[in-house]
Symmetry: C2
Subunit: 426 residues, 2 copies
């Protein structure tokens, strides 16, 4: 890799424009670096050469008869405009911004979504020079640390989410966790709507839940990992983290989009527990094919800052996302984000939303890894044999998947799996 390549930030976009592709993309490169709408005296050829964003390549991928988004201009005097769809890679010298994640976002995903040249513009991926790896800690626990703390050596962590999302008191929450822990669950999380409301104060919930978890751990030697939602202001998050740690807890959860890059970075520097990263609000970036940020780019920001688990939705989920998109996200989480030796900042993908025993084989086959959290609500708690049977059925499904046995065959000798297959039809 050349020194030039290794010292540039790169970003891939999909765009749509009725202008000549090179012209429109040159505007985008200019706007995000040395240029502006009007030529200004200081913008010398030498300055542009050294600090301007560079177009690495452009690849046309299709055309549209009409603009995908409103508001875009068309070239003057063009009677029948055609909207060309293209992917392109831009790059920036690190001299412009330094190894700063917040400034990286302003550079690769700042004032460009509104450019009049484009009727679609999505950020697809980013590639960062090694100085970013040196500047940020990355995940503190990742897969290995999460397995160690949860005592799950192989296979996915079988998890669930406290439901109803809101409305349970701390004692009611603890009572549900008691049942889940007795059932052998590996992982439980707060809903992202539950944090520190007057009806279920954070500290009361932590104390009630951890009492239950510690009791089970003393009896069985296995400590359920509970991701307490610490989302809030900086000092609140720090205080909440410290309380979880003091009470023997092993995980904190944070809503990434609610806290933001600087907040998550601060939490990570302070944190002595795995950070379970919730992506709620991400649909805003992903839902339209014409505007936003793909998860493949999105997750890199947070991994570099140092979260340990990231939500990726699940196969045949109850939301709008396709299986193809879910798998691309999960594979991204497990793929090193830097070339060569050194930390790759891999994180544990969290599968959830409508998950039952049914998706285990496909998830395993497509991902080729069980380094994940497999979270189910109804798919576990509504098992006819109760929560414990629900957890056992999930483990049996994953044993079957990982050994290449089909679920029906495995179910012949595993009653809980058989019951689950009857309950949760394909």
């Amino acid at each position: 890799m050349s020194a030039d390549r290794s010292s540039r930030v790169r970003a891939i976009y999909e765009v749509e424009t009725s202008f000549p592709l090179e012209d429109a993309i040159a505007v985008m490169a200019g706007e995000q670096s040395s240029g502006t709408f009007l030529a200004v005296p200081g913008e010398t050829p030498e300055l542009k050469q050294k600090y301007g964003a560079r177009i690495e390549w452009i690849r046309e991928v299709g055309t549209r008869d009409a603009p995908s988004l409103p508001g875009a201009r068309t070239p003057k005097g063009l009677a029948q405009p055609v909207w060309r769809r293209a992917q392109t890679e831009l790059s920036w010298p690190i001299d412009n911004l330094g190894a700063s994640v917040p400034n990286l976002l302003a550079t690769v995903a700042g004032n460009l979504f509104e450019l009049q040249q484009f009727s679609a513009l999505r950020l697809l991926d980013i590639t960062l020079p090694d100085c970013f790896r040196a500047a940020y800690p990355g995940p503190q626990f990742g897969v290995g640390g999460t397995r160690r703390l949860s005592g799950v050596e192989t296979g996915p962590l079988i998890g669930t989410i406290v439901k109803p999302s809101v409305g349970l008191s701390p004692e009611q929450t603890a009572s549900l966790v008691d049942e889940l822990a007795a059932g052998g669950i590996d992982f439980v999380k707060d809903d992202e709507l539950q944090c520190d409301g007057p009806h279920c104060p954070f500290s009361d919930r932590v104390e009630a839940v951890m009492r239950v978890i510690r009791n089970h751990a003393e009896r069985t030697g296995k400590k359920v990992m509970y991701a307490f939602n610490v989302t809030g202001e900086i000092e609140q998050m720090v205080r909440r983290h410290d309380l979880v740690e003091k009470q023997g807890g092993t995980c904190v959860m944070v809503s990434l989009n609610s806290v933001g890059l600087a907040g998550v970075e601060y939490l990570r520097r302070h944190c002595r527990l795995p950070i379970h990263a919730h992506r709620n609000g991400w649909g805003l970036m992903q839902r339209s094919p014409d505007i936003g940020i793909d998860y493949v780019a999105f997750q890199k920001f947070w991994r570099l800052l140092g979260v340990d688990h990231m939500h990726v939705n699940g196969l045949r989920n109850k939301f709008c996302e396709s299986d193809e998109s879910v798998l691309r996200s999960a594979r991204a989480c497990l793929t090193p984000m830097f070339d060569g030796a050194g930390r790759g900042c891999e994180v544990m993908p969290v599968f959830s939303s409508g998950q039952t025993v049914r998706q285990a084989p496909d998830t395993w086959r497509e991902l080729g890894s069980a380094d994940l959290i497999y979270a189910a609500g109804g798919g576990l708690m509504a098992h006819p044999g109760g929560v414990a049977a629900g957890v056992r059925a999930m483990r049996q499904a994953w044993e079957a998947a990982m050994s290449g046995t089909d679920l029906e065959t495995h179910a012949r000798s595993h009653g809980e799996l058989r019951q689950a297959l009857e309950k949760y039809s394909a």
Copy 2:
């Protein structure tokens, strides 16, 4: 106002669905409060009544022949689905979340954009109970403090942005500021791409620029307000703020989406200078009419945290945004965000992008206020008489606008305005 109304968070959305409106919106309300996909044992009618989100009203606003976004389901067995567009208001009891801005975002703009029932979903506005006003400081300087620090008693602050955005050294930046200050400018800002890159380190830039600004202030008694971009990690922002203050600076700038809610909240608590809030990346939320967050809702989060200036684009701007949208944003910034007596958290709107003397009359007439920053690049620096003439022309244009004189008439006795009208054709 009833106690119930005053203790609930409210949010207005525009949605599109092929399901019966009430059914689809009930799913949204459930998903964002006590409900989940499957009924769970703990979700009692009493719990739903107390903690469930409530549908306040639904108003159909139109229909579509095809779904605006991909991924939505249609009701089973419906041969010819119609996609209904509606506005709706949901409300939540404060008991669920408490007066927490990050948790507010997860509640009103969390896991709902991906719901399969909807082929469009935008958050339009929010209304918060008074406990939020008590919990957050709001703007520290706002209009009055900004006028005091900049010495501009009436009319807009005439401002500009350092260009080229990147590539100038600290000394080159200071030299440009020298020319601007000599020309009588009120306000200058870093470009959002310029923060602390190796080529133009933050501390060197602050020292070089403030030396120039202090020199002019000693001579003229007027200190140019320069918004230094402090965007970064928490401790970096604090350090940078302290340096600006120590050097006699009067403003810091932050990229809201790069730093996030928790980071901006922390900066505000620490800050002793006005916070100039840059919204870059906001196009991602606004560009599509079918997904995202309207600026009217967006700006309330940041105003409550306590920023002082907020970017709103400008009339006849060079981006995609319509004048109607720009004006709605600017009016929102100047409108109190709570009912009744007490702080309204008003902030100063910042107009920019393609602004010249030409937009002053319409901006004044439509907004009915000159409590704003009017920032121009080429529209000021490219004045044939130079920067000083450019600044004078802008002031003359605003004098004309505010006195109800048309620009052409005022230009007869004001040479710089006349030159500007010749240079910047309508």
